[in-house]
Amino acid sequence: MAFFVARRLLYLLPVLIAVSLLTFSIASLLPGDLAYTILGDQATPENVAALRADMGLDHPIWWRYLGWLGNVLQGDFGRSFRTGQTVLQAVAERLPVSIELMLLAQFGALAIGVPLAIICAARSGGPFDRFMTGTAFGMLSVPTFLSAILLIYLFAVELRWLPATGYVPFGEDPLANLRFFVLPALTLALAEWPTIMRVLRSDMIATLQEDYIALAKAKGLTPARILFVHALKPSSLTLVTITGINIGRLIGGAVIVETIFALPGIGRLLIGAILTRDLIILQGVVLLVGAGFVVMNFLVDMLYAVLDPRIRHGHA
């Protein structure tokens, strides 16, 4: 097991280097001179030249990359030239919002998708299964901005149960904080439960054909034990994968949902950085989000081993 973990950790290194290289080159290869962007239209050539020298823009790109990487490794991701805030400050401020949204959305999606998948798999081909499979397919094709607007209309405008937009930190007022998160989290959950349900349902149907399920029935186990103990675990590898990918994706913020519901998360930080050409923030945030994604996938790999002992022992 220790060997397994060590090997997976070693795989992470080249991936992280590739992520950093990609982020840096995206920011550097964007058209337009960074010095002009910072100084604006009225900049004199002398000012621009001075700033370029100051920022090291005269050096070749690989030299700048190594310098940036060196700083990053020391925890210095740079500082926004617009607000003066460091990348780490900006991210630390907004990350809790995105993570809370991600957790609530994932929890909601799993809470809807997993039980439905199990019921559908246990009665595959039946009327409930056919109805839910159809519904899931329909839900897959509803974009988040549409369900967001419909939810706002229903729960905020018509019923007036929940606020449409806004944010209060959890530490200030937990209840109000959660009220602000219900609709955005629900919007994301509605987009994600169909995938969860379809994937788990089909894996579960395949598992239920296995000999060991027939033996579990022949042993006289209760249907609940067969479904939850014998069938769920071997069926959940794909589910864990897509949940991991979703979580990794949402660490980077849900751009559309955060924008619609005015949540100050990573997604809005990114959009802001792009719109104001705040490249230092942009490349720093993308790197951090990319690293978070990679680490998340590492954790998913670890979870495979927990779910399937054959992976743990190096078989299969």
Binding site: K219, G220, R310
Partner: protein, 331 residues
Amino acid sequence: MTGNTLLSVEDVTVDLPTPRGNLRAVDHVDLTVGAGRTLGIVGESGCGKTMLSRAILQLLPKKAKLSGRVMFDGQDLVQLAPEKLRKLRGRSLAVVFQDPMTSLNPVLTIGTQLIETLQEHLELDDATAKKRSVELLAAVGIPAPEQRLAQYPHQLSGGMRQRVAIAIALSCEPKLLIADEPTTALDVTIQAQILDLLAREQRRRHMAMIIITHDLGVVAGRTDEVAVMYAGRVVERAPTPALFKKMRMPYTEALLAALPKLDAAPHTPLPAISGRPPDPTRPLQGCSFSPRCRYAVARCQSEKPPLEAAETSAHQFACFHPIKTHADADA
């Protein structure tokens, strides 16, 4: 005999809908097993023997249609409520499947899979259930049983896994054990060990057993009665000694001839049965074996021979032209 009948399969038919039409996997089968007795069901692949065992266990695929009665211990399993059936399975009706590589759950430990059966049917606390599991594993010949409890199926060899499957089947002292080709997936050297283990445990526990196999050699010394199946029907049924003394059905004879003989010269070709079993979605009008039978006459192709008793009521066969015995030849 009728006094202590444990299982009686009465006129059981299993139909499976397929894209090519209805497939009759089991065709009006009648069988009985007395308490503590052993029945061998023999036939080649696709003859319906596994479907018959699944029909007895009520583990047929969802789409399968079953008619007839399966009387077990005075109750018709076909009509039994699911909850009552569940309490019977694993408790008094147990099964060992063909392939131990797929019949144990890969993500649960051996201990979990044994203990859950014990605790489902017998009111045992954790410590007692664990102790019973160790005893069971030891009884089926697994070395270091305590350590095995924490292991997963993939850490054991095929033979060891089948021993675990047998331990699970024996765990609640069943009245009837169905062994569905229990040695087909195993090495030849392990086969005899597993069969001997089953026979020993059967005697010790006085349970009835059905051994399903394609190998007449397996049933020869180990069963009280043999039923030979072909194309979903029982074509010959007799007490084991009587069957091997004078088999009447040409198919049984052909099956026995197809067994490799130890005293045959090296490279002797096996007398295989020519042709294939009939397509089960297109049943023949006459005897299903007639296209492959060297004794077949016109009547065999137009009329289905019923399963009837001959000189003794215990020996039944379905053939118009049974193989002549010495007694017949003398007459």
